[in-house]
């Protein structure tokens, strides 16, 4: 399926939007970058992490990346820095660190 082109959205007139405010494309929230909302960033200590995957279950933005059922990194393009992962981690392997101006993965 071709991408839904919303580049001109802010200029669209009332008759250019899809009927009934539907989004006529699935999964396009991936294109919506929310990493810029973050003031703190999660950091995981691999030495204390038990790979219980509770952070992966609890993350409201599905921003915990895994590979072969092991947590690897955080998807900082979508992580909003809510801190749920750090709060839920049973072994305190995740800490929230203040975010600088620098967001390399977003750029």
């Amino acid at each position: 399926m071709s991408k839904w082109d919303i580049s001109g959205l802010n200029e669209w007139k009332s008759d250019e939007f899809p009927l009934g405010a539907v989004i006529p494309e699935s999964g396009n929230s991936r294109d919506y970058v929310t990493g810029g909302w973050r003031s703190q960033r999660p950091e995981r200590n691999d030495a204390t992490c038990t790979q219980c995957l509770i952070c992966w279950i609890m993350c409201p933005d599905s921003a915990v990346n895994t590979e072969n059922e092991q947590v690897t990194t955080f998807n900082l393009k979508h992580c909003k820095g809510c801190g749920v992962c750090a709060n839920q981690c049973p072994v305190d392997a995740i800490t929230m660190v203040p975010e600088g101006c620098d967001l390399p993965e977003v750029k």
């Binding site: 009332s14 008759d15 939007f17 009927l19 009934g20 405010a21 539907v22 989004i23 699935s26």
Partner: protein, 395 residues
Amino acid sequence: MPTQKTIAATGNTVVAEAMRQCAPDMMAAYPITPQTTIVEEFAGFVAKGRVHTEYITVESEHSAMSACVGASAAGARVMTATSSQGLALMWEELHIASGMRLPIVMANANRALSAPINIHCDHSDIMGARDTGWITLFAETAQEAYDNTIMAIRIAEHPDVLLPTMSCLDGFITTHSIDRVCIMDDETVTGFVGQYTPKNALLDIENPVTHGAFAGLGGPFFEFKKSQREAIERSRAVIKDVGAEFSELSGRPFGMVETWGMEDADVAIVVIGSTAGNVRHVARQMRESGIKAGVVKIRCFRPFPYAELAAALSGVKAVAVMDRAESFGAEGGPLFLEVRSALYDATERIPVIDYIYGLGGSDVRLELIETVLNDLSEIAAGAQAPTGLVYLGSR
């Protein structure tokens, strides 16, 4: 013209029959007096296999309309019915149905709202919902309730419209009176309403869509509301076309505004619903005593037929508006406000008097209407119009 069967039936029975003939995919409903027998008889049709509708019993009208919204978004043809407190409990979903552009068709048995508690007819339920974005048709008789229900499906599902539509009938007076009604055969109705092809159906898994997304500050919310306004404006032409097509089939006239005696009328009464017949009856009698009375019946309240109404009333010397609902603190009832607004651009300034009548089922006796026409006749002859609204027949 296809053959029709003449039966003795209540308004609710023929609305249930019309719904069966429209064959909705889904109905979710909660019973409330005086709507109950519509959904009860429809449930009977489902139980007997006379219609293949997914009938969902729910625990409230809030849930009924929520389920209807979900099913309609899934791509189903959806019908339901309610009344009074039930319509009030559906309030937030009424806006959701119209905002999501879901062509749900609902019958509303007009009944007063509490308090004090009352189960009888007035229009306060539907008039409270007049800004929810639903197309709103009114029936004078059981026959019109049957006809409107069938037309409502075509209007709602028209690609230029796609808006929910309400078919209103007066509680008890129309819902529970046995009347003479002509019923079409199933094939004729099936052919008339046609197949529903939904747009953006959630169950169309080849073309996944998201319903109910956020459109906040700076987003296109404003534009979506404008598109709703554009759709209901487009519905005017669709309502007329569907009405004309239905008239061809049924032999019964349909107009957003229906007039009687307006060709040479000096005075006119504007009225909605079952009282229209009473008004016509009295107007006909008064003509014999020299009062040139006319009647303008509103059959479609949303979109409101401003131009048609203004044209019908041009040339009269005094107008009475019969309001079966209050708008406390406003200058008059809901219909009065519309009528006065419609006449604002008229070159001649016509006195318009608002009569609040029949609240909570208070009987609309013919002599009450006589007093209205006598008042109008005096005003047309130069008497001072009353200031403020008149509570007709109240102590």
